[in-house]
């Protein structure tokens, strides 16, 4: 804010000096001109009286001629004073208005307000660079979960639109270039409360610059970056970015997973998808010969993924750039003739993957006309075209911003989930099928919430307090009970435990919890809330584990001695 103050002072220097000169000249003149008192004697105004008169005349308050009515000589000088002071005020007010309308000054005010808001942030927060479709999706979701964030975007209009968003907490937002380190520092990069940086700009180079800044200025801070090209992805990995999300590669990998290991694919889509969605049935993305229309960044990644999966691909592209050596047909793919030449008659599926939504829909419709049973994957570029793609009903729809948002949120929700995803990718289909069955048995037909807890004094004071007084170990099966009626199972499954550097996948029910353990749970929202109460309140923890319904604070608990063992 002091910057704004200094700019204002500097701009107002000349009008202020002019104003001082006018007022002082008027005061001196008035004291030098003699007046007449009630009895006809000549009197001079004291400097104070003159200054008082000038002050109320110059500000157009006008109390009249005091202490005595003026002579004509005095009135002549007062006339001069009036016109001079009007000029002075007009100059001063004009300069002030010009200053307020000045673009640079306004930007300084906005920047100062932004910095103050960032400085006032006392909760953990994330810096989001780029608030397009993807950024908005992530911000909305984080906001619902009580997260705080600071927003940067180069586009002023997008920042203005942020004000219309209905969010729980108003995020500080600034229209600035995230490539410059100063901007990131202003956004709170060096604050200890900063938990991570999300680089989600459309421009890969900006994202790379952000990754680099984070690596050099805050090594170890989580940077999650979006990238569209293999070169930038590699560069980001070299820099040591925490998570690089290449939506095209991601989709390609998912596609191969869907062909070769449908259960793993299903598990992954629950883990990364929004909670509450129906548990989708196995998608039988058929292995075999595939036709890929449009060989751009997306087409190349999908083709590479399918080929890596051991299947065979034909490409349809108007100029076949970069697709040398691959079997293909020149053309858009929107007419039957081209599709036929690409062996659509024997194909297992088709990918409509150009960067124009209307072309993708036309390709998909043309392909369905030839082969109604064909597996169709359509790429949707714009969120606003959702209704068209829904009406068409492709077997799989690839929405770039959705994929990035899902990946990002999965990583942000809990770092344990990222670990679990990595493990799941390495396992075979039967293993995933086993987990899917287990989740379905415990949690029903809707995809669950995933959340992580840490058994520490900060996050679980009640539970830790109880554990230190209770002689016997607390097991996973204990804290899975409902807090209202402990004989009921609250419907949550522990997927992963991290103890130090060790990861324990699918811990058994009699797993003994220790101080410092982190546990990844899957379950309903109610179960998450139950567990939260249990972690906060020692009495709830005691009831759930031992069955003794106790009340009282720390003193009473100390008097009563250590808790008794479980009743059953």
């Amino acid at each position: 804010m002091s910057g704004v103050f200094f700019i204002a002072l500097r701009r107002l220097r000349t009008p202020l000096v002019v104003m001082i000169c006018i007022v002082m000249l008027a005061t001196v003149g008035l004291t030098l001109i003699p007046g007449i008192d009630g009895e006809g004697r000549a009197v001079f105004m004291t400097p104070f009286q003159a200054f008082y008169f000038v002050s109320y005349t110059a500000t157009t308050i006008g109390f009249g001629e005091i202490p005595f009515a003026f002579t004509d000589r005095q009135r002549l000088w007062v006339t001069v004073i009036i016109y001079l002071s009007v000029i002075g005020w007009a100059f001063l007010i004009g300069s002030l208005l010009a200053l307020v309308q000045d673009k640079g000054f306004r930007r300084a005010i906005v920047a100062a307000r932004f910095q103050r808001a960032v400085r006032a942030l006392r909760e953990p927060f994330y810096i989001v660079c780029g608030i397009g479709e993807t950024g908005l999706m992530i911000v909305r979701s984080l906001d619902r979960r009580g997260g705080r964030f600071v927003i940067l975007d180069q586009d002023e209009q997008r920042i203005e639109e942020m004000e219309l968003e209905e969010l729980v907490a108003d995020p500080p937002a600034l229209a600035a270039d995230a490539r410059s380190p100063e901007t990131l520092i202003a956004a709170g990069l060096l604050k200890p409360e900063c938990r991570g940086v999300l680089a989600l700009c459309n421009d890969d180079q900006v994202n790379l610059a952000v990754a680099l800044t984070v690596r050099l200025l805050r090594p170890g801070l989580r940077a999650i970056c979006r990238s569209h090209s293999p070169d930038v992805t590699a560069a980001m990995e070299t820099v040591g970015t925490y998570e690089v999300i290449n939506p095209f590669r991601e989709f390609g990998e998912r596609l191969v997973l869907a062909m070769k290991a449908p259960d793993t694919y299903r598990l992954m889509s629950w883990l990364t998808g929004p909670p509450g969605a129906d548990l989708s049935p196995r998608i039988p993305a058929p292995p075999g010969h595939w036709v890929v229309c449009g060989y751009g960044r997306f087409g190349a990644e999908v083709t590479a993924a399918i080929k890596a999966g051991g299947f065979d691909v034909a490409i349809v592209d108007p100029d076949m750039e970069g697709a040398e050596g691959l079997p293909g047909v020149r053309g858009l793919g929107t007419d039957n003739e081209v599709l036929r030449r690409a062996d659509i008659a024997t194909a297992a599926g088709i990918v409509a993957g150009t960067d124009v939504d209307t072309a993708n829909l036309t390709i998909a419709i043309a392909a369905r006309q030839i082969r109604p049973d064909l597996f169709v994957i359509a790429r949707q570029n714009l969120i606003s075209n959702r209704s068209l793609f829904e009406a068409f009903g492709a077997d799989m729809t690839m929405v770039q911003s959705q994929i990035i948002a899902d990946e990002c949120l999965a990583v942000l929700r809990t770092p344990l989930l990222a670990d679990f995803l990595r493990i799941a990718r390495g396992q075979d289909d039967a293993w995933a099928g086993h987990i899917v069955e287990r989740l379905r048995r415990h949690l029903g037909e809707q995809s669950p919430e995933f959340w992580g807890i840490t058994v520490s004094r900060e996050q679980a004071p009640g539970l830790v307090d109880f554990m230190t007084r209770f002689g016997a170990p607390v097991r996973l099966s204990d804290i899975r009970r409902e807090i209202v009626d402990r004989t009921c199972d609250s419907g949550k499954v522990a997927l992963l435990v991290r103890r130090g550097a060790e990861l324990i996948v699918l811990p058994e029910d009699d797993f003994e919890l220790q101080l410092g353990d982190s546990v990844l749970f899957a379950g309903s929202f109610e179960a998450e809330r139950d567990l939260f109460y249990l972690m906060q309140n020692a009495n709830v923890a005691e009831y759930v584990v031992t069955g003794h319904d106790v009340l009282g604070g720390a003193v009473w608990r100390w008097l009563r001695g250590p808790p008794a063992a479980a009743a059953n």
């Binding site: 700019i7 002072l9 220097r13 001082i20 000169c21 002082m24 004291t46 400097p47």
Partner: protein, 127 residues
């Protein structure tokens, strides 16, 4: 030659010289200290203060601070004069005059600091 620098130096020096002129003389003798000289000193100090607005450097900050101190002391002196003139029908006693002059002498010190800073700044200039 830079006209802005001329104006700046002019006002800072003038503020100090006027202040000195007012203080110079027997401390308690009202005949040695003219009112309009104090008035002029206040006006020129005001202008000098405004001229120092908006400089964000460290030297600029000290400049502004010294001017503000001088202004504060001079205004205090003017107020003392004002109240003295109120009570004893325009006549200023030797005792009051001494306090007015000592207050302005304080302002003179601040003005001298201002001049010193300006001189130091000038000699540090490489061009």
């Amino acid at each position: 030659m830079n006209l802005e620098k001329v104006v700046f130096g002019f006002f800072i020096l003038l503020a100090a010289t006027l202040n000195f002129g007012f203080v110079y003389g027997d401390i308690g003798n009202p005949e040695h200290h003219h009112f309009w000289e104090l008035f002029a000193a206040i006006v020129v100090n005001l202008i000098a203060t405004v001229l120092k607005f908006g400089d964000r450097t460290h030297v600029g900050a000290v400049h502004l601070a010294s001017s503000l101190v001088a202004l504060l002391q001079l205004i205090a002196a003017a107020l003392v004069w004002f109240f003295a003139a109120q009570s004893i029908a325009g006549q200023v006693s030797a005792y009051t005059m001494a306090s007015i002059v000592s207050l302005s002498a304080g302002a003179l010190l601040a003005n001298i600091v201002s001049v010193i800073i300006m001189v130091v700044e000038t000699t540090m200039q490489r061009r």
